[in-house]
């Protein structure tokens, strides 16, 4: 089933066009990797799909389950089941992870009533599976977190909120090999119930654990080439300029 379909998408920040005609279709349960040089527009693409008001779509279309989402606000898109994981997640002082996630969960799944205790149990299980200290849940959202903790916190949220598609921005950057394995397992677990993944990464390393069906090479605001995992291997050997041709 076509979950998300992006058609000839152009988007700008200020007067500068950053997304220059992207076409991409992601089906349920598929994992797509997007690889490309710094400044190519990968983060921008994720923000545009999520509906960040800083970016302006100038033409093209984004369909989610067959319907245009271009007129929907960020939170409406989130409630449809789109999840963005951030390279640099914000700190929210004075708000504990537990309170924040409970609130978000109620918004995302209004029909699933869970007691405070049940929700707490669920969160503790998820924290355990990501080998995170339970105290984490009592801490303020991302405040004073290390780089690795922030990445885990994003995957913890992903696991709790159970979206239909996860847009993951360099979730592997800065992780040591143990943390990378744990985070990858978290992503794989979350995708067991049919969740699709769009994974932006610079390194082939994570693709050994999170196995993509498609690898897209993204240069200067466009997908210039699409293939399988072999494309990532080629990239690792030859760099972007070679692969482009």
């Amino acid at each position: 089933m076509e979950l998300i379909k992006i058609i000839d998408l152009h988007a700008s920040i200020g007067e500068k066009e950053v997304i220059k005609g992207v076409n991409l279709t992601v089906n349920r349960n598929e994992i797509h990797a997007i690889m490309g040089p710094n400044g190519a527009g990968k983060t921008t693409l994720i923000n545009v799909i999520m509906g960040n008001p800083k970016y302006r779509v100038t033409s093209g279309e984004i369909l989610f389950e067959g319907k245009s989402i271009l007129n929907l606000s960020v939170d409406e898109r989130a409630r449809l089941g789109i999840f963005q994981s951030f390279q640099y997640p914000e700190e929210i002082s004075g708000v504990t992870f537990m309170n924040f996630l409970r609130l978000a969960y109620e918004k995302m799944h209004p029909d699933q009533k869970m007691s405070v205790l049940e929700f707490g149990d669920m969160m503790v299980k998820i924290a355990d599976s990501l080998k995170m200290d339970h105290n984490f849940l009592k801490r303020y959202v991302n405040l004073g977190f290390s780089g690795g903790e922030r990445k885990k916190s994003e995957i913890l949220q992903l696991s709790a909120l159970n979206p239909k598609i996860a847009l993951l921005d360099e979730t592997d950057s800065g992780l040591d090999i143990d943390a990378l394995k744990i985070v990858s397992e978290g992503i794989n677990n979350a995708s067991k119930n049919g969740m699709a993944v769009v994974l932006v990464t610079h390194y082939k390393r994570i693709l050994d654990y999170v196995k993509p069906k498609f690898v897209h090479i993204f240069i200067d605001g466009r997908i210039v080439k699409t293939g399988g995992i072999e494309l990532a291997e080629e990239l690792e050997r030859n760099g972007y300029e070679e692969v482009r041709i």
């Binding site: 999520m50 008001p53 606000s73 989130a78 929210i92 002082s93 004075g94 708000v95 609130l103 978000a104």
Partner: protein, 449 residues
């Protein structure tokens, strides 16, 4: 008690009105003298030359004394139902049963209920309506009354000295740890009146007290005035925590004065939330006069549409090894204006003192305003002084982050505001914290609950 039934005074202020108030209270002569002197100061003093604009406040139209249709009672059952209902809605009798050592409840110019638990009486704690304390403990009251806040301090201290009525007197004898908080609640129910309660707290050597003060009122099209005074004497090694949740109606001018003097190794803790009123000027002050005395502040100011709230903190370090710590925050939204005015003064003799002041102001939208004016004066070079200030708009990236998790924009703002105010909220008694979160939700159209 009072036989001279005075139901209310005429608007404005003159000697005859003061005499009426004093006589209706059967006061000793010395108190009447304080009132008369205060009146003179009041008539001769100009309005403050800083802070909020009070030019629209017509003091000649304010009714300075309004007696409620009730006596001061020791049992809620004896409080007339129409008045009692107001306090029941605020959950005060219930809180008293569950978690308070004593409660005072003032309606307009007089206390209608004032009582404490038997166990406290046995410890020698005195907890009385202020006027009653003047009659029953004249020597004790005279020793402290308006010494920390002299009537000629400023125009509204003078007004207070002239027409004060109601309020609470507490004396805690040495080495008594009052196990539960004592609370006084002030309600203003009549239009166009002024409320001038006086709170006098003396906590003797080595003792501990937590006091909670709440205030609210009914909204009217005419102006109301509140000019209370709080004087706290923290003796050697004693600790006082004084918490206030001020939620006056939006027609109220709140021109209030609070001061504590702290002796050797004593501690004053101010928890102060200013959220109501049209205009407020309030700067709780701590005079650290004994070696090792300490002051701590956690304050928030919450200014919404039509409000100009000028608040702050003042600490005077007069002795060596004194310390102070200030965490002061403000929110302004919907066109509100929050102004922080801070003063830390460290005298020449207050060597080895420490002070850290942290003030931050968060503006939720483009139409609201915030300013901070911290002043630090250090007269010796053997003290450690730290200061941080932040004034800024609510962060769009934070809102985006929360919205990307399904929260509406309103929910996201309310959550950020709650988080920002968390250091204050978590100091509050439970029912106040719940109420406070509810008010934030309401102002931001949020339903986070």
């Amino acid at each position: 008690m009072t036989n001279n039934a005075l139901s209310k005074t005429e608007p404005g202020l003159n000697r005859r009105i003061i005499e009426e108030i004093s006589e209706s209270k059967n006061e000793p002569l010395w108190m009447k003298d304080i009132r008369m002197k205060s009146l003179e100061y009041f008539l001769n003093r100009p309005n403050p030359n800083f802070g909020v604009d009070i030019s629209a406040l017509d003091l000649n139209s304010i009714v300075n004394y309004v007696k409620p249709g009730a006596q001061n009672e020791r049992s809620w059952e004896d409080v007339p139902e129409d008045i009692r209902e107001n306090f029941e809605k605020l959950g005060i009798p219930q809180a008293e049963r569950e978690a308070l050592a004593g409660v005072g409840a003032q309606y307009d110019s007089e206390m209608v209920y004032h009582n404490m638990k038997e166990s406290l009486k046995k410890l020698g704690v005195i907890f009385l309506e202020m006027g009653t304390a003047v009659r029953e403990y004249p020597d004790l009251v005279k020793k402290y009354f308006m010494h920390l806040i002299p009537p000629n301090d400023h125009k509204f201290a003078a007004l207070h000295g002239a027409v004060w009525s109601g309020g609470t007197f507490i004396y805690v004898p040495p080495n008594v740890n009052v196990p539960m908080p004592i609370q006084s609640y002030y309600l203003m129910g009549s239009p166009g009146m002024g409320q001038f309660e006086h709170t006098l707290i003396v906590v003797d050597k080595g003792s501990k007290l937590e006091f909670i003060e709440g205030c609210s009122g009914q909204n009217y099209s005419v102006s109301n005035l509140h000019a209370g005074a709080v004087e706290i004497y923290v003796e050697e090694g004693a600790t006082v925590k004084f918490s206030t949740i001020e939620n006056w109606a939006k027609n109220t001018y709140n021109l209030n004065t609070k001061r504590a003097s702290v002796d050797k190794d004593g501690t004053i803790i101010w928890i102060s939330g200013t959220m109501g009123s049209a205009k407020t000027m309030l700067y709780p002050s701590s005079i650290l006069k004994g070696k090792g005395a300490r002051a701590e502040y956690t304050t928030i100011t919450y200014a919404g549409p039509g409000q100009h709230l000028d608040t702050g903190t003042k600490v005077f370090h007069f002795a060596p090894y004194t310390s102070s710590k200030v965490d002061s925050r403000s929110i302004s939204f919907g066109g509100g204006y929050a102004f922080y005015r801070g003063l830390v003064r460290v005298s020449e003799s207050a060597i080895h003192s420490k002070s850290s002041v942290d003030c931050s102001a968060l503006m939720v939208d483009n139409v609201s305003k915030s300013d901070t004016l911290p002043i630090i004066e250090v007269m010796n070079n053997q003290s450690e002084i730290g200061h941080e200030a932040y004034v800024g708009k609510i962060n769009e990236d934070q809102i985006y982050y929360l919205m990307s998790r399904g929260l509406t924009e309103d929910d996201a703002k309310a959550l950020i505001v709650r988080g920002f105010l968390d250091p204050f909220i978590k100091q509050l008694p439970f029912e106040y914290a719940v109420e406070f979160n509810r008010i934030i939700d309401m102002h931001f159209n949020s339903k986070i609950g």
